[in-house]
């Protein structure tokens, strides 16, 4: 199923990527080329086949239900977490105004 430029702009909007009309036009051809190629998967008979969710059998673990189970990923790391934020203020992430 071929996609058009309106669909390209819709996908870009879902992906939160600003896109110019020229880029949308170029992307239309590229995405159709790739999607046309992957569509060959439709010819594979997958009757009764389960989708793979884990490539190596592994069971999910539960850690102990305690605070700061791992000192690296536990609490009290505010300054480390904010260290690379482009607009940290007053101990919070800064964002543009979202409520008028």
């Amino acid at each position: 199923m071929a996609i058009d430029q309106a669909t390209v702009r819709k996908i870009a909007s879902l992906a939160r990527i600003a896109i110019s009309d020229a880029d949308a036009a170029a992307m239309e051809g590229e995405l159709n080329g790739i999607l046309g190629w992957v569509e060959q998967l439709g010819e594979v008979d997958v009757t009764g086949v389960e989708p793979m969710t884990a490539v190596i059998p592994n069971k999910l673990r539960l850690r102990d239900d305690v605070i700061d189970a791992d000192p690296l990923t536990g609490g009290n790391r505010r300054d480390d977490i904010l260290a690379n934020a482009p607009a940290a203020q007053h101990g919070f992430f800064g964002v543009p105004k979202v409520i008028e």
Partner: protein, 493 residues
Amino acid sequence: MTELTNLTVAQIRDGHRAGDFSAVEVAEAFNANVAGAKALNAFIVETPEHAIAAAKQADADRAAGTLKPLSGVPIGMKDLFATNGVQTTAASHMLEGFVPRYESTVSQKLWDAGCGMLGKLNLDQFAMGSSNETSYFGNVISPWKRKDGGNAALAPGGSSGGSSSAIAARLCPAATGTDTGGSIRQPAAFTGISGIKPTYGRCSRWGIVAFASSLDQAGPMARDVRDCAIMLENMAGFDPKDATSLDMAVPNWEAALSSDLKGKTVGIPKEYRLEGIDPEIDAMWDAGIAMLKDAGAAVVEISLPHTKYALPTYYIIAPAEASSNLARYDGVRYGLRDLPEGAGLQDMYAATRADGFGPEVKRRIMIGTYVLSAGFYDAYYTQAQKVRTLIARDFEAAFGSCDVILAPTAPSAAFGLGEKMADPLAMYLNDVFAVPASLAGLPAMSVPAALNREGLPLGLQIIGKAFDEQGVLNAGLAIEERAGFTARAEKWW
């Protein structure tokens, strides 16, 4: 005196231990090579001081009798691993200037083993590419040149192209790589070095910039099989911080290396004989089969019937996971922020991501977003996950009659920079032999096997059963001993 930068990891480790040279001498020699190789653009950040500090510690540890497994060995770190206090970019504008406040598990293990860091190695942006041409920080150049009188700059492979170029040019004896769909093996093949992607889950993904989490796996790149074994022993291991980490002991792969393949059976997948492929690739493959027979192995033909569907499966699953993983780059918590005058939150997200991601990354996010979107999810993504199950079953069935599988690593030798950038699909085909093992989570390595008529390296790939890195390394060693690959790029940089 021995030229220290020609030594392997094992030779540096053992020579340092024996007192033949100091670790500081080794670090200084590699630092000098790194500083003199700007033309290759293999490093995004150089960290000579880190290498020297680790070397001083190694020399002190030797004096005190407290040597560690890799004391005195300086390495390169792919710039996809978060390094505490050292810029980590994934070769993207999005993460330019990002300085982690934590260390990835794999890099921490290497520092704990005594390694020093020569610098952060260039790569394809977010590890998406096969030629290292998608880096925001410029192309990496392979040290190799065609022997055709021309001077074309060649691709070092990708995405671990900084790693492959730096090792081939003797800027570091070993480096980390990551492999999502061939990103360790294909660059190793292009530059005449070795590299292994272990079983999915062997190396912790914690602190590695995520691309496609069900496929991403770290592994070492080095000049020979022994060095890959040594490095992998010091990178692998259970990590509770990675939900898919394997809770298994790390074998002593180096000590168990053996090129005697008596009693082993090697499978040759008939579907990997591609029509129209360079006859030199097939000839190298046949030579590899003869080498493994010479090492005592039996050889059987096997069938992996869904091989032709592996690449299209990969190019649904990997972009789908990437679109989800890369949603984190929002201009709020870390990385780039592009806030146009008067823009609101949504406009800021869109502007930041338009500015911070390169064309290939955007292409994959868009594909991934599309195949996961309402109405298309089952037709594309679920279907691809089912085909992935069939591809894994192919391998399971094949391993009923063989211990390891031998195939080419890549369908060609290194190509020239710019030759394939105009056509994404042609670029994706580079990984046709590498992707199936990734989809099945299996260990696989590339070892240099021959030079082609242009004087460029070609690599052979060994694919093993899950958890059988030893079998892969041993078959690799058997080829290494027989191929006698000693060629290296002549210095022009």
